[in-house]
Amino acid sequence: MSKFNELPAWLRWPIYALLGILLLTLVQIISDTDRLTRVSTSREMLRWAVPIFLAGLGGLFSERAGVVNIGLEGMVILGMWFGAWGSITYGPWIGLLIGIFGGALGGLLHAIATVTFNVDHIISGVAINILAPAITRYLSDEVWASPTTSPATSTPDRYDLPILGGGTVGGWESPDILQSVAQREWFFVSETAELLRGLTTNLHFVSIVSLLLVPFTSWLIWRTRFGLRLRISGENPNAGEAQGINIVFYKYVGVIISGGLAGLGGAFISTELSGLFQGGNSAGRGFIGLAALIFGNWRPGGVLFGALLFGYVFGLDLKDLDGTASHALLLVNTIVLAGVVVWALARKRISDAVLAGLLGLGAFYWWLSAEAVPGWWSNILPYVLVLLVLVFFAQRLRMPVALGQPYRKGGR
């Protein structure tokens, strides 16, 4: 087990994912649904995960620089409005840029309050979450004569990846390898290919950018001078200052990038997910992004994994009108909780084992006694997951050391 933890993150997360798919495949055999591993499910998963991931990655930039960002939700909302307005006025591509700009404005405000004026980070975030919806309602009312709804927005075309997704390159239609594998009905392999097809076909530009942002951010944070300085701003700003690093500058940059990414997530919601700006359509994704950030232990790969996990639950529910697939998910929950029991027992953490065991029994009983699961359960499952992860693993997470602490130049 300790050997496994020494593996690099880019290897560990895919192994988790494959284990998850294996579990889904097994559960599906004894359930009366095949939605758990359908391409439509994974496509919805990605669509839901993208804004969550972008908000979470935004949180990563801010929190790596030591600034807690509860205001992500407000920045997503600003991005939603500005993205919608930009795409209606100037077309889809400029719309995305303006969405980023809108979110970055929120980030700038947060940076001014927290870094320059040393306002408590959570208080400033709460203020931004109150201010952002008010601003967007006001602007919508003035621009579109309705406080809550905009006209339809436009969005760029979608792509298929060449070779893996049968996309065309310069007129040459490449083979669709994943699809041919998915049709073979090889146990587990075909299911994996089917789920992967959701990540390689019919992709939105922002989805591709999001997936590419994972390796890019890892490189930026861990391998560059910029990343080192950003991290020292969040780990030990006074030590960084002693080395001549302009901590205030890096904190500003981190928080503004944070807002920009959340804004892109917002623009994705209003131009792609819902096709218009609508108040309340952010649906707490900024908060879920924050949850994905914590779930992912403040690392880019982990944030993506968390966002995909939450996106999977939401996306599955969307296509699951009779609730049978969510019902099958209960069995998955049971098995995972049973795994936690074994894990806790191996570490002699009896109270953890008892708690996980009780929760697992509850899930199992529900699975046995009900035929289907109502929609509200899927709505809250991501939040429940985050709470459970925190309950069992809070002590294993490692956040930036100086996160949330005020910083003053010269230590004054």
Partner: protein, 377 residues
């Protein structure tokens, strides 16, 4: 005196800045700020509007106290939102099931609301002390779980149990008259003319007053309040002084949740049930009011009245078309952000002045000592 001026400078300054910024926002879109603000003030001069403002300020004030109890202990109870809505639903359902003599019926509903709010907030407190889960994250999650999970589930379930269900009976079953706190129009009418337009001043205003007084009494006159403030200011010192930090965290969360449970009772008394679309956002607004009023029982009264005034003014702006009504929410957001910045700045100036005064006083006494003894120790 100087101290008082200092503490007033920040909120007044913040308000002035807010007026300026929102005037610019209004002018950008071709509205006349003077006529807009004039309409708001003229409207607020009417007795009926004042009743509306008080009715709105009541839940805001209780919500602010719920947030402030946490703040005093350096705890962020972001979960007031979920706590009050959940408590509201359960209290309304329990209240609709029974008919009791008025005093007992009201007491039952209130007790249920307080208990549910306290218990739900207590979860976050227990998770924090036993599992090290940050209360900000856990209360955000618990908000979502309460609002889109528990409330959605229970509402559906109780809805289905209703006989002859129609769209007008949405929400929980109505509560009998005996469960409702009577309005206190009579109390206000002693000082003014009769209240028209069928407006009713909520009896919860008195409850809010009691809660505010209780909060003041708790913090300034009771051992527990002292422990709470001490743990908030310096947990290590408090611990050394024999204050158990874990119990304090749970107690503060439970108390905060108990106050949060009362928020929904204002609407419960008005509508006599849990309506399908209850007023939301009071929990977050309460955080803003607490910050604006600096967790001070009197300061929060002014802040709650200001927020309530702005909320109520939205209606008149829509009627007179002087400006888009959403401007009032922008004003709330701006006044909060500017005020917390201003508090920070004045706090620093004050600290610097105090440090300088102490240094000067020290120098003076030192000088006197050396003059008197002539010999350096």
């Amino acid at each position: 005196m100087r101290r008082m001026l200092f503490s007033l400078a920040a909120p007044v300054g913040a308000f002035v800045v807010t007026i300026i910024i929102s005037s610019i926002a209004l002018m950008l879109f071709g509205s006349n700020p003077i006529s807009a603000f004039g309409d708001m003030l003229g409207h607020a001069a009417k007795l009926e509007t004042q009743v509306d403002i008080l009715n709105r300020a009541t839940p805001l004030y209780i919500s602010a106290i719920a947030a402030a109890i946490g703040f005093r202990m350096n705890l962020f109870n972001i979960g007031v939102e979920g706590q009050y809505l959940f408590a509201f639903l359960i209290a309304a359902q329990v209240g609709s099931l029974v008919v009791l003599p008025q005093v007992f019926h009201i007491l039952l509903i209130t007790t249920v609301a307080v208990a549910v709010g306290a218990a739900y907030a207590g979860i976050a407190g227990v998770l924090k002390v036993t599992r090290g889960v940050n209360e900000v994250i856990s209360t955000i999650m618990l908000n979502a779980i309460a609002i889109s999970g528990l409330i959605a589930f229970l509402q559906q379930r109780w809805q289905a149990e209703q006989e002859n269900f129609t769209s007008t009976t949405l929400g929980t079953n109505p509560i009998e008259e005996s469960g409702l706190i009577p309005n206190i129009n009579g109390l206000l009418e002693i000082f003014t003319r009769d209240i028209g337009q069928g407006k009713e001043l909520t009896g919860m205003l008195i409850v809010a007053g009691v809660v505010g007084f209780g909060y003041h009494f708790l913090l300034t006159r009771m051992r527990f309040g002292f422990d709470l403030r001490a743990s908030g200011m310096n947990p290590f010192a408090a611990r050394a002084g024999g204050v158990p930090p874990k119990q304090m965290v749970v107690a503060a969360m439970v108390l905060s949740g108990a106050a949060a449970g009362l928020i929904g009772l204002v609407e419960l008394n008005e509508k006599a049930k849990f309506s399908p679309n209850p007023i939301k956002g009071l929990g977050f607004a309460g955080i803003a009011v607490a910050l604006l009023g600096r967790n001070h029982p009197a300061g929060m009264i002014f802040a709650a009245l200001l927020f309530a005034f702005l909320d109520v003014s939205a209606g008149i702006l829509q009627n007179t078309q002087a400006a888009t009504k959403e401007i009032v929410n922008i004003m709330q957001g701006i006044v909060l952000l500017v005020a917390v910045i201003a508090y920070g700045v004045t706090g620093r100036i004050q600290a610097r002045e105090e440090a300088r005064a102490t240094a000067e006083a020290l120098q003076e006494t030192e000088g006197r000592v050396t003059e008197g003894t002539e010999v350096a120790v």
